[in-house]
């Protein structure tokens, strides 16, 4: 007789295979899997809402509204042109500056939109420079994943971890921020060492490149100057709110006496407040903006949470946790195991469903050990694991998809060679930094 645990595992595995293969839309696969476990009563209605992590879903929704409203102003194109001009025709500087800009933007806005809007510009510059665009594209992808690792809102795995573990924006900045910066420097070093010699243009060519790029008018990219200014101000305000979201009561109570100094704001609340401010201030049509919310992505997350909820309800996660506890003696060992396992598993599965599955496992370990360092190990592994293969993170798929449409062939092995190397180095270095922070 098939037990309910086996049934939950089978549905989970089939759904994850469908997500990896993507013959069926990932959102549909996740929803279908969730529908099966709900239909079979594995996840009853009373616990369904508990498993749906609204903190993650609402934070993503709020940021999607902000990013899509800001996008209408031409903000991203403006940044792309300014970055291109800053490089003054040097291919190496193009690679470095675009990687840094991609990492910084990805740290505060979503990776997919960042690479979607920067990649066409990068391809254009590579065409102007008559250089192979592949190193530039690979550096952009890796920088996006590493930059996203540095903040709470930078990458979906971090959003999920923060929402579930109640971690703050400042904790992410202070713990994962340095890891991201060091790893970005290492990646740039690797690229300079590997591709530096092939990225040379003579002075005459450089002058032509500079002249062509100087011909681009960044002001022409701004479609709506007023919206552009309002977007920048709102994004800056939202980032500021993220910095103080865990202690906002202390500041507000100084101005508004009835506010409880202990009051805090959840990251999702900050994102939705920012979205409301921008929508109200910009007077952009809400119908058009709400249409641009990536509903399939939100339903994908919803489906995943219920699927993983089925494993929690049936005790599968608890069983894995107790197996782990019996084999792992210290937090340090658990950190190493989680970081490396999540990194390599993310490279195969995609880091979002992997993180969804590992979060309840870490919660279950909390009875026997201090799991605080483990959250960071998961964040490190899931985010840096996104660099491992072509399908490990959404940003990779976007850049490779664009490249393919533009006739640039980056094979699975092309990506794997550099991606796996970067994965191993960045996780090792990141783990070393986390070890120094928590274990020494």
């Amino acid at each position: 007789m098939i037990s309910v645990e086996i049934l939950a595992i089978v549905v989970f595995i089939i759904t994850y295979i469908l997500i990896i293969d993507e013959r069926i839309h990932r959102a549909v696969a996740a929803m279908a899997g969730a529908a099966v476990v709900v239909f079979l009563g594995i996840v009853p209605w009373e616990t369904l809402l508990h498993h749906l992590d609204l903190g993650t879903i609402l934070l993503l929704m709020g940021m999607m509204i902000i990013v899509n409203t800001a996008r209408n102003s031409g903000l991203f194109e403006y940044i792309a042109i300014r970055t291109a001009k800053l490089a003054r025709g040097s291919p190496l500087k193009v690679l470095i500056f675009f990687s840094i800009v991609t990492a910084v933007v990805s740290a505060f806005l979503d990776n997919v939109t960042t690479v979607l809007l920067l990649t066409p510009m990068l391809l254009y510059i590579a065409k102007v420079m008559r250089l192979n665009p592949v190193p530039f594209l690979l550096a952009e992808v890796l920088a996006s994943n590493v930059g996203g690792a540095g903040t709470l809102i930078g990458d979906p795995p971090n959003i999920m971890i923060a929402s579930s573990a109640g971690l703050t924006f400042n904790e992410f900045i202070t713990i994962m921020g340095p890891v991201a910066v060091v790893d970005l420097v290492i990646i740039l070093g690797i690229f300079i060492a590997v591709y530096g010699k092939s990225m040379k243009v003579d002075e005459h060519e450089r002058q032509i490149i500079v002249r062509t790029l100087d011909g681009l008018d960044e002001r022409a990219a701004i479609q709506d100057r007023v919206l552009f200014n309002k977007s920048i101000i709102t994004i800056a305000f939202v980032v500021f709110l993220f910095f103080i979201h865990s202690s906002i009561g202390q500041y507000l109570s100084l101005i508004i006496p009835f506010v409880d100094p202990a009051m805090t704001l959840e990251p999702a609340e900050v994102a939705l407040i920012g979205a409301a401010i921008l929508l109200f201030w910009s007077r952009e049509s809400p119908e058009l903006i709400f249409e641009k919310i990536e509903w399939p992505a939100l339903f994908f997350f919803g489906g995943l949470f219920i699927l993983v909820g089925a494993l929690v309800e049936t005790g599968v996660i608890a069983d894995i946790a107790s197996f782990m506890i019996s084999h792992v003696r210290t937090e340090g060992e658990a950190m190493i195991l989680i970081a490396w396992f999540s990194a390599f598993a993310s490279a195969i599965v995609d880091n979002i469903p992997l993180t969804a599955a590992l979060i309840p496992l870490i919660h279950d370990l909390s009875g026997t050990m201090d799991v605080y360092p483990l959250w960071w190990a998961l964040s490190l592994g899931a985010c840096m694991g996104g660099n491992g293969t072509a399908i490990a993170a959404s940003a990779n798929v976007v850049v490779l998809g664009i490249a393919e449409r533009e006739g640039i062939n980056i094979t699975f092995m092309d990506f794997l060679k550099i991606g796996m190397f970067v994965l191993v180095v960045t996780v090792a270095v990141g783990l070393g930094i986390l070890w120094l922070m928590f274990m020494v």
Binding site: E77, L116, Q223, I391, L400, G401, I402, E404
Partner: protein, 181 residues
Amino acid sequence: MGYYTSLIQRKFKDVVGKRYESVLREYGEFLLSEEEMVVPEIHSILLPLDIFVKEIPPSLYEVLSAYEGARVSLVYITDAQVYSVISEVLSAGAGEEFMRKKEEYGHVLLNQVSGELAAAGIESTQRMFTGHKGEDIEKLASSHDLVALAKSYGSEKTEHYPISPLAIRIAQRLKKPTILF
């Protein structure tokens, strides 16, 4: 198509949807296309002048100076039809007077533009004759690589018509790359 390529395409479609098309449209408004990126070889430039071309914008000199080593042919054409109408309707003397004043203005304009071109580091030659503006420019254009045509060539610009009818007609008929300024 291999499994990997089709997998990337499926995932791309699911993650991006139709957003990439709109991004390309937005970029297309200010990035050069493949065709536009090929810089044509320009050795000779035809720059027609007449009484309606009051001044040449400095930005045109900047653009022309980008074509290193190119020589500009300045051509001032007086309309032969106008000359013959004046001569027939008024008198031959009036026609001669019209021509004298036109040529006088033409020399001043040619020298002025030639001087400005020289200041921008561009070599130029001058030519002045009586003829049919539209047809003669078409003929001359065939022996040049680029034509720089004033929007006011042939008649005054108006608020409603920022390009003169003659300039539009010439630009439509020319087979050579044309800068309308």
